[in-house]
């Protein structure tokens, strides 16, 4: 469920990057306050461990398809939320670079979706209260299951929200939601099962690791209610910010899906702002306003007026666009080919 650059708008990507960077700063600061040097290599190697175990596939019971580990809850339980968040963020960064999972702009969203929900919401609010001191295997099992499912559901919902706020897809809100949530329910159940199993295994083999890391060690100081509330507030501000940006710059997308859901053509009272914003965007982007293939911002406007989207179709101008496009591509790749050929000849 990695978010991809191509589905994001700069405003949404930027907002989630800001939230992610702030959280990385917060977690680093918190961790430095009571840092035990010994944890630095442990965190690093555990990151590599999560990375490596994600590459081992296993068969999901009953389906025959294969799944892999997310690891957010395992890390939170073993290291506490701050260290777990940093480890997850580093794993996702390396994946974004080496596997190109999503791209660089989407990395902010991915760290947010896969890191913040398990570490800062599911762990303190669900796992901790349910698991208690972690000595009762049954409680640990249910706590892992519940927290893994909730964490993944929130992550999946976040993906839906980010996609729709960005307005690059025409997929209606409910359809997208109905696709994403059930898939991630299944993934969450498997994740919960694996989390509980690994915790159980570690407790049986080396109980002191869990005892030292999850309850007594300073690294895992529990999150206070105040901090959780601050986190929620930040969440609200960030999403609110994304919403307002989106309203002013990209009216198609969520509003359109809201219209689908409520049956209204558009939410009342926004016409002026939307049209004005559209016009200014159009003025900014259309350097050559006369070319036949009009700037796409016209489409939502045309849609609302129930008139054809690109009204003045002129075969001539679309042909010239096409010729130009092919030429530009040919030149771009031709330059690459020439440089390559030249280097090969000059190479010893």
């Amino acid at each position: 469920m990695h978010m991809a650059d191509a589905l994001l708008s700069p405003a949404v990507g930027g907002t989630f990057w800001a939230g992610t960077i702030a959280t990385i700063g917060y977690a680093s600061k918190k961790l430095k306050e009571h840092l035990d040097d010994r944890k630095i290599p442990l965190m690093g190697v555990l990151g590599a461990f999560i990375f490596a175990s994600q590459m081992i596939n296993f068969t999901i019971p009953g389906t025959g398809s294969s799944g892999h580990l997310g690891g957010g809850m395992i890390l939170s339980i073993l290291l506490g939320p701050h260290a777990a968040f940093l480890v997850l963020a580093s794993v996702l960064t390396v994946q974004a670079l080496f596997f190109a999972d999503g791209g660089l702009l989407a990395l902010g969203c991915n760290i947010w979706n896969l890191g913040i929900y398990p570490c800062y919401l599911a762990w303190p609010l669900i796992y901790k209260p349910l698991a208690g001191d972690g000595r009762n295997p049954k409680r640990v099992f249910y706590a892992s299951m519940a927290s893994a499912i909730v964490g993944l559901q929130m992550g999946a919902f976040s993906v839906v929200l980010e996609t729709l706020l960005s307005g690059k897809t025409a997929l209606p809100f409910t359809t997208f939601l109905l696709m994403m949530q059930p898939i991630h329910l299944a993934i969450g159940i498997v994740e919960g099962f694996v989390t509980a199993g690994v915790i159980h295994y570690v407790r049986a083999a080396r109980p002191e690791i869990l005892d030292s890391s999850a309850s007594s060690a300073p690294l895992a100081v529990g999150i206070s209610l105040r901090n959780v509330l601050i986190g929620f507030l930040a969440l609200a501000i960030v999403t609110g910010g994304a919403f307002s940006w989106f309203r002013s710059a990209r009216p198609d997308g969520l509003e359109w899906s809201i219209g689908r859901i409520t049956g209204m053509k558009e939410l009342p009272g926004q016409e002026d702002g939307v049209l004005a914003a559209l016009k200014s965007v159009q003025e900014k982007t259309a350097v050559l306003p006369a070319y036949g293939f009009k700037p796409p911002e016209n489409v939502p406007k045309g849609k609302k007026q129930e008139s054809p989207a690109w009204p003045n179709v002129d075969a001539g101008t679309s042909v010239s666009g096409l010729i130009g496009g092919i030429l530009v591509l040919a030149v771009a790749f031709g330059i690459g080919w020439i440089i390559r050929a030249f280097r090969r000849r000059t190479a010893p």
Binding site: A4, A6, L7, I24, D37, I40, P41, M43, G44, V45, L46, F49, F51, A52, S53, M55, I56, F58, T59, G64, L69, V87, A89, T93, V94, F98, F99, L104, K168, T169, A170, P172, F193, V194, G197, V198, Y201, R206, D252, V287, L288, P296, E297, A309, W310, V313, T317, S318, I323, G324, G325, L327, V328, L329, V331, A332, I335, G336, I339, R340
Partner: protein, 269 residues
């Protein structure tokens, strides 16, 4: 992606990143900033835009050519991670109520344009991100991030992760191969066995971390990974960022293909 394929992919990117070309020699900060700016510019194009995005291909093509990165390898990696974007995008032609007349008498859903736009943006941003790591060593990127103000604890975390990535991945690969050899067909590849494998790997990891910590203490570790390099930005780095930035601005604000097309038709007619 099979384990071996994924692993050799990382390994190959890593080895490419230690090359010595014009692009490799640029400061990591310059490349990180330019790649990030490229992603933002590409993504900022309106949702139905396809043609005006095409000139942007010059950036990844130039980088790949100047840095001697095999284009086929990058293209295959881009295709390998495309499913999610393709999956979300392919509904656009179905759900988009707007229509476009592309030629007199031929009308298609405007969704085809937004779908094509998503695909082009995907190819651009992902290939640029892959080229960043293919032309910049990971420790170099970490140094750059540190200079750009990322917390040192997080940068140490990234460096440690990278240092042990290959060690632990190879260990996991051996375990997975042993499991596959013992599990004829599907038997033995289930969740229960997986949990035990992960548990064992975890314990080995913790023990390894303890040994590493001991070894680092013996070498004077005080909580931060030091770097001996003191790099200043050179004029060539500034020139690269400037040139890339103006190229992106040109692509964003001037519809190059349409302009060229009209110019050509003007010449012909």
């Amino acid at each position: 992606m099979s384990f071996e394929a994924a692993y050799t992919g990382i390994d190959r990117l890593d080895r490419l990143s230690y090359g010595n070309t014009v692009v490799h020699r640029l400061d990591p900060r310059a490349k990180v900033v330019a790649t990030m700016a490229f992603a933002v510019v590409v993504v900022s194009f309106p949702r139905y835009e396809v043609l005006s995005l095409l000139p942007c291909f010059l950036f990844p093509v130039l980088i790949a050519a100047l840095a001697d990165i095999p284009a086929g390898f990058i293209a295959r990696k881009v295709a390998a991670v495309s499913p999610f974007a393709v999956f979300v995008g392919m509904f656009n032609p179905l759900f988009d109520p707007a229509t476009v007349t592309i030629a007199p008498g031929v009308t298609v859903s405007a969704g085809w344009f937004s779908f094509a736009s998503i695909l082009v943006k995907f190819a651009l941003t992902i290939s640029a991100a892959l080229l960043l790591i293919a032309t910049t060593s990971f420790p170099g990127i970490c140094r750059g991030l540190r200079r750009l103000g990322v917390p040192s604890l997080f940068v140490s975390q990234l460096l440690f992760l990278y240092r042990y990535l290959f060690v632990l991945t190879e260990e996991a690969m051996r375990v997975a191969r042993a499991r596959d050899m013992r599990s004829f067909g599907k038997r033995g590849t289930g969740v229960r066995v997986f949990v035990r494998i992960v548990g064992t790997l975890f314990l080995r990891t913790v023990e390894r971390a303890e040994r590493i910590y001991g070894a680092m203490l013996a070498r004077g570790f005080r909580g931060e990974v030091p770097s001996m390099r003191r790099e200043a930005l050179r004029p060539s780095d500034a020139a690269f960022v400037l040139a890339a930035g103006s190229f992106f601005a040109l692509c964003r604000y001037v519809p190059v293909p349409q302009t060229i097309g009209r110019l050509l038709r003007g010449l012909a007619g």
